[in-house]
Each structure stands twice: as C-alpha cells, then as structure tokens.
Symmetry: C2
Subunit: 302 residues, 2 copies
Amino acid sequence: MEKIVECVPNFSEGRRANVVDEIVQAMALPGVKILDREMDANHHRSVITLAGDPAAVEDAVFRGIATAARLIDLEQHRGEHPRIGATDVVPFVPIRGVTMDDCVAMARRLGERVGRELDIPVYLYERAATRPERRDLAYIRRGEYEELKRTIATDPDREPDFGPRRVGSAGAIAIGARPFLIAYNVNLATSDVHIARDIARVVRERGGGLPAVKALGFELKDRGIVQVSMNLTDFHTTGIWQAFNAVQSEAARRGVAVLESEIVGLVPLEALTQLAVQVLKLSALSVNQVVEMKLFGEGARE
Amino acid sequence: MEKIVECVPNFSEGRRANVVDEIVQAMALPGVKILDREMDANHHRSVITLAGDPAAVEDAVFRGIATAARLIDLEQHRGEHPRIGATDVVPFVPIRGVTMDDCVAMARRLGERVGRELDIPVYLYERAATRPERRDLAYIRRGEYEELKRTIATDPDREPDFGPRRVGSAGAIAIGARPFLIAYNVNLATSDVHIARDIARVVRERGGGLPAVKALGFELKDRGIVQVSMNLTDFHTTGIWQAFNAVQSEAARRGVAVLESEIVGLVPLEALTQLAVQVLKLSALSVNQVVEMKLFGEGARE
C-alpha cells in the first residue's frame, strides 16, 4: 500500500445506527480501512474516517454518498450542527505518497461524478475551491440547507461547481482537500479562563498569531484549570512544537505555568519526526527510519 | 502481524557475497522481513536485520545458523572484528506486542535447538545470560575462537549453556536478548576533540553518567568539528531527549554549542512518542494514535 489518502465524510445522521451501518457498509471496499466512526445524537451527525488506496477511497466515498442520499431526507433533519446535505462535507487528506494536488484532483473528479450520476449539487471547498470565498466551509454552509434550497437557482454566489441548480431531499455537498488536522490542547495551571481566552486570541491566525492555527480558551471546571484548545490545520506550516512554545511563552508572560498538553485523536507520523527534528536539531529524520515503517510501510521488503 | 520481534544475527563472512546471499535466502521465510544487510570486508563480517512474527523469526535464524555452519570455516577466518563463531552473535529484540521475557525465552529455546541439532556450543548473553559475567558479550568473546577452542573442555567459565564442550569449524554462538539499540550522535561547534571525549566520558554509564548510554568522542576532520557518538542501549531507561540534554548542557558548561544531532539507522516509533511526551509534557501518547499505525499496525481494521 504505497499511496494513502484519508477521507473524513460527515453524514447528517446521528441517531439511527442502522442507517450509519448501511453507509459504512457501502464504503467497506477492498483497499479501504475504516479508521473511526463517531455518531452524535445532538448534532444529528456522523463522522467516518477512512483511509487507503486513493482510487478505492474515492470509489468508497461515492458509494457512501449514494447510500446517504437514498436513506437521509434533509426535509426531516434537525440537529445542532450546521449542514447543507445528507452527505454534508467530504475532505480528502494526503497521508503518504500523495500530494495536495492529487487530493484536489480527487475532490474535483468525485464532485463531477456526484453531480452527473447522483444529480446532487457540489461545492468545492478549501484547497479544491474554485472561488476564494469558497475556501471557507462556513461561507458555503451559510443559511444551511433551508436557505440554499431557496437561493440556489437564482443567486450567482450559489452556483454549484457540479450538478444541478436545485436541491432535492439529499441537499448539496461540500467536497474538498485539506491537510491533516491535529487537535492539540495545552492545559494551564490557573482557574482564570480569561487567561486561556487571551492566549488563544494571541496565538491563533485570526488574531495575527501563528498561521494555520485555530484556538479557543476553555475552562475545565471539574479540574479547576483552563485549556487553550487548538486545531493545527497544516502542521507543515505551524507544527506542534511551535504551538506548544507559543502558548508556553504567552502563559509565562502572564505568570502561569503549563501543566500538560494532549494530542486528541490521531497524529501523522510526520508530525512526530518534525518535532524530533526541531527539538533535537536533527539534520534530518525520515519516516522510513522508523522501525514500524520498515515493517509495514512503503519501504517494507518481503 | 500483531507480534513483532527483531533479530540481528552477525555472521563471520564479509567478503564472499554468494555465501551471505545463501544465508539470507535460508532466512527468507513467510512472516519474516529482511530489513537490512551489511557486509564489511575489513571486519570480515555481515550483519543482517530481520523482523516479523516471533516463531517465524526464530525458525529463520536457526536456518541461517545451520547454513553459516555449513559454509563458513573459522579455521580460515581472519578479520578485524572479534568473533567466536560462523554465526557469532544472535540478539532478539522486542518490537511490538512482545516482552523482553518473551525474547529471553526465544534465545533459550533457539540455543537449546542449536546445541542439540547442530552440535554447536551456545552461550546465552545480555538479558538471557545465566551467569552475571555473561551479560557482557566481550567477556564471552575474550580470546575469540582460537582461545575458546583451547579452553572450552577444561575451563569451568567456558562451559556452554547448550551444546558440546568442544568447538568445530563453526565455532560457538552467543545468543541473547536485548532492548532496541538507538545510535545517536551529537555534533559540537568546536574542532577540539578533547571536548567531545570529555563529554562522552561524563555522560556515559561507565563514567557514572546516564544509565544504558555508551559514548565516545570523535573528530569529524573533513568538517572541522567533533562528535559525541552514543549508543542508547535501552531508550526506556535513558531516552533520546535526556541524552541530547546531557550533551548540550555539558557542552554549554565548556562554552561550546550543539550544531546538530543525528539518529543513525532505525528508531522505534515508541522512542519518538516518548520524546513527544517529554518535550510537550503530554499526559500520554499511544503509538496507536499515529495514523500510520492505525493503517498498518495492530489496531488496523479491514
């Protein structure tokens, strides 16, 4: 398995487990691994993480989209999470032996096929976007399914990249490409949530801080401490070490110590070799120097 | 492939490639991967790295030993590297889902089989040793093949753990178990090799420094700098980050900066997650949180 793409389709079904089962079943093709599956009843949404051979993943997601379109009716769907479609968002993420451009090409090819074969409008987003404002998923999803349904035929800003200028009960889909997202939190030894919020504002890109970093400050009430919760949306731009250091030095300026940090969920091996290179001043460290990669990965020989 | 053992047999043949080919061929069993193969003509020695399913690796190494015994004659062997046998050393290294005790059991089982079926004396060493002094490979190999041949029948210290109290043309073998060895070098911004040697003496276990660290100071003449070259013989005891810090602070005390460092060859994923936990103050980081492990490793689902 030389080339690996990850895909994290979000489906607007978080309550009927049998529906999610059927969608996941449809995506279980040879060459594809289902890495994770999360259902949220309040959001009324499921997030499936799959990965594997690019062509197989692309085909699997098409089948998932077709199944969701058959089983989910947006007219009946109410949940906390914003959505425009039965399959709501489909991001392709390069993992190994695949470039961002490859993932953009996958997004476009899948989008064209969904429009043509399933008659569902498709908006390309993030790195696959065809208009600058569509890089932002929130812009595409403004007003959700209900507003899109009213305006898609007439509003020039609502013209889809592929598919018809009308929505049926399956709604529309945002399909795109983006880097791997690392969820990274730093806990601080204070109960003052304003300090966490302050630091979040300073370190995040939106506040002129670190590029490709989103951040929010939270209180962890049960522990009497606070947390700077970050999304590193492109660790090649800002890595875990830089994010940690930025929070630590902002905390120190405020007389607060870092208690600990945590990587939530998955992290690509390359983010760990990057960290090692930075902290140890390594001249280089290839992921192929990692024993497990020699055994399982691209460089493995029988 | 849930359980993985690495084995790094050393053979006393570094000149005839066809002999090494035949040994490697004999070890190429299903479930075993040949990760690396190094021949050194001056040392007259080859080092083969294989890994995979424990039972398959154990069987593969037995076949390699049998082949080496048939093709290599210690009476004809002269090289720079000390040796006692055609197959000279066989260390088993736990990589995944396998304990050090499992590797000790493998060493003993293989040793018993080699003694019984091949009539070759076997000395258990390192973690598999049955006498304290035999933990040290150099002790077992003192005087090499030539001295062992003279003394094995009469010297009580030379009594093998398995096999006959006499050596044939295949000599004897040290079989053992040890942790993964990380080769790690730190380069310093000075041309004074005494500083590197000084620091090596201070940081290594033998000098009362860091446990499970061997270190030497070298001059890198072509670059006009010096290097502290380390073997981390058990990274669970002393990890890369501690080794780096010890050298850096000793260098700083001498007014010398660290230029860079390098991990030579392979490194286990766990040594990188350990590093991340230490520098980021992570509460935890499992190797199963690494994307590639979800795809290839134990936790992978089809």
